[in-house]
Symmetry: C2
């Protein structure tokens, strides 16, 4: 049986205004014909209908707008998080999805308090400049009186790691690690280690606190928060990030040979008993209902912004994708499950709780939309080799939307943070739909993560990608696992 051919012109006919804004597809080769072990023609046609229907579906925008304006910031375990859970449950039910539930899970919350960092002037007691800063997630508090000390300045985390002297002892270490702008986020991946491990490296050398240049690609006076971690064998010292222009000022003064001295105040509470939830809803399967196609996002956000791009957009995209299948009356073979994870940002509690509960349930694959609201530009996966041609066929179907098939690290895809935890732990197959993250780290984990940073026009393309791939994964004639992780 052969699926009808699908070419670019065909699709333009179905959604011309929408496609006009898409990038040129990286691969222009004609779609491979379906073979006997492939998707059924009816399933293929349904995938085409999903693509076309997504083009004028504004559900995702409506969802993220509601989440941001009716709930706002929702750090895990907070009362806002609880409101987000209620909102999400009702939103998923409103889309007609079944089996809606919020699965409670205990967690230890980290609660931000007031914080400030003042750069002192040439006279030791002179407040010279109030830095724009934010405590890093999990940071311990500073002593109530604050910490005042000279700065031991390092251009990179590596420079700190290489330092065998006692220059950091009794000082506030500052790590001026820069973040490169990249489409795929690898610049962030390289830089974020300074945020994660800076405190441990500094404390090992006797530092009183650690500050870092924000892990971000902007040049605004906004601080980028984010999780950091301690080790039980190293003293826990306060950790904070300053805005890029403030880091630049410090670097200039450092280069001028001026002494940098900081007065730090930082309040925070760690280990606060709290509860969060995974919010789940489904499009129930038929003959393979016990197998799960998981499309996820995380419901929690950092506290500084509204959690629009991180990860209101993802919540909206995967919810709308499942909602679209429901609206078109599609019944999948496998169960398509939307999972909105709790506490991705600061501990992956939701992912771990999900794994604890569903680890023995077969998952066709897991995927997560958690990279903002940019267009999907590449598809990758992690499936058993026999299934790879089927997944490649999905990517070819998405090619008119500007989606390329992965060339680098093919079939070693990474499905997002929570889904990645599950993939590694349970050896579940995975799908990776890579969004354009060129501007993502301008606003990630900052006060700028607000609704106006989302271009509503980019959301339907994301919805199409998630709906089509989830649908075809659910209909696949073969299992995507087992995989080697």
């Amino acid at each position: 049986m052969r699926a009808p051919s699908l070419n670019r012109r065909h699709l333009v006919g179905a959604g011309a205004a929408w496609l006009a804004g898409c990038a040129t597809p990286a691969q222009q080769t004609p779609l491979l014909p379906l073979r006997s072990a492939d998707f059924l023609a009816a399933d293929w046609r349904a995938a085409q209908r999903l693509m076309a229907a997504a083009s004028d579906d504004n559900t995702a925008w409506r969802l993220v707008q509601a989440l941001c304006t009716q709930v706002g910031a929702r750090p895990a375990g907070s009362s806002a998080d609880a409101r987000a859970v209620s909102w999400a449950l009702s939103a998923l039910q409103g889309l007609g999805l079944a089996n809606g539930r919020a699965e409670a899970l205990p967690m230890k919350a980290w609660v931000r308090g007031p914080a400030s960092a003042v750069l002192l002037g040439p006279q030791p007691q002179d407040p010279m400049h109030h830095l724009v800063m934010a405590a890093l997630g999990n940071s311990v508090a500073a002593p109530a009186a604050g910490i005042e000390a000279d700065v031991a300045w390092y251009p990179t985390l590596q420079a700190l790691q290489d330092d065998r002297s006692d220059r950091a002892r009794g000082r506030i270490v500052f790590i001026d690690q820069k973040t490169q702008r990249t489409r795929d986020g690898r610049g962030y991946g390289l830089a974020v280690v300074a945020r994660l491990n800076g405190a441990v490296e500094a404390a090992r050398r006797g530092a009183l606190a650690v500050g870092i240049r924000s892990i971000g690609t902007d040049s605004e006076r906004i601080a980028h928060t984010g999780a950091m971690r301690y080790r039980v064998d190293v003293p826990a010292i306060p950790a904070f990030a300053v805005s890029v222009p403030d880091a630049e000022l410090m670097a200039t003064r450092q280069a001028q040979g001026q002494t940098l001295r900081l007065r730090l105040k930082l309040q925070a509470h760690s280990g606060v008993d709290a509860t969060t939830h995974n919010v789940i809803a489904e499009l129930p399967g038929s003959d393979l209902a016990h197998e799960i196609v998981l499309i996820g996002a995380h419901l929690d956000s950092w506290d500084l912004g509204l959690g629009a791009i991180d990860d209101g957009a993802g919540v909206a995209i995967v919810s709308a994708a499942a909602g679209l299948m429901q609206r078109l009356g599609l019944q999948p073979r496998r169960t398509v499950r939307v999972v909105l994870f709790g506490n991705e940002e600061n501990g992956f509690d939701g992912a771990r709780a999900y794994g604890d509960r569903y680890g023995t349930v077969p998952h066709q694959w897991v995927g997560e939309s958690d990279f903002g609201a940019g267009r999907v530009w590449q598809m990758n996966c992690r499936v058993q080799p026999d299934a790879l041609p089927l997944v490649q066929r999905m990517a070819r179907l998405l090619s008119p939307l500007g989606v390329a098939w992965a060339t680098d690290r093919l079939n070693q895809g990474s499905p997002g943070p929570d889904a990645g935890v599950l993939m590694r732990r349970h050896k579940w197959p995975a799908v990776q739909l890579s969004q354009d993250g060129t501007n993502y780290f301008d606003v990630h984990h900052t006060v700028h993560d607000t609704l106006d940073r989302i271009d509503p026009a980019t959301l339907p393309q994301n919805v199409a990608c998630w709906a089509v791939t989830a649908w075809l994964a659910a209909q696949s004639p073969v299992s995507f696992g087992p995989v080697v992780v």
Copy 2:
């Protein structure tokens, strides 16, 4: 006697790289020949030398960089202000200027304390969203326990003024006044009244506090501070500005019919006894040394940023202009006086003290650079009618730099805030060199007023304009006053 002709090509020869970036001059007509009552040819040639020499003079950039990195924010009356005074005195002396002095003046300082505003959620006690906000200058503190109240939302100050109901009573008034982007700042002029008078209008209607949309043209999560005022016959209530995206969020929720409720905390100290200074240095005149050509800027800044564009740039420009005359060995007839005013931002104490001290000294004109670091695009003035052709001739000389002669409100120029106070009070003539302020109100009075907001390439054109006009004003064969103000 005729001055040598000066055309565009001539000047390009003198400073090609610099002029390449200039806008097309608005007037391409040839320069008027000098007549007998005009500038001496030697003075005219010196003006041309100043223009050419400014093109590769980086003094202004060096000065503003030093002020921002060595002093930083310098709210009037603070210890940083005192350091700025020392820095400025030594910088002006370093340029070879004479009679350097810092003239102390007593003032009442306003000192910012911690402040926060939380938008409460659907449940009255639910913190929904932390607004990015800043107290307005002069705001009284809120009661220590804070203020929690519903919001009475108004789209504009006019809407509040038109309200005859008691809707504002017992509430926090919010004024969503928008600021239009314009080159000449008139959008700001229209909107800023909401900042200045909002508290009085709200308190007259029984409000507990007043919040405003930041008077700014950006869409970043930064609050724009700035002075506001009370009336003795109206209760003083706390006043603050929120960022534009936060105002947008409130507007969206207001449009959705949701109740807006705020929890405001705001600490501040008013009327703190303090001292600031006018910093003055001169290029002493010869036969007319007792007449003053005043080129000014203000040394103080708001506390949130580094005071780079407001008004480090102006400090650097007028200082460098006088320094350039000195470097070229020019001796003016009248005394060219650089005045760096104290406390422009929150009371004009420096301008008033200057007027008290020098009000009886004849001033050829007064001018102030206080509109950022954009290029000068227009020249205007306020001089006695007989002197107008001479000033117009200056503008024609600057025409290759993209400077037009004023068409609107000709000879009704406004010379900047401090100089404007002096012009009105002492009927002194005035010069207005209008900078392009298209982007000025994106960062004005915010944390974003940092060094990276200045394009070093725009400074030499400003220096040329100030040096040329101050020089020719000092050499003028006629007095520019008296004027009608």
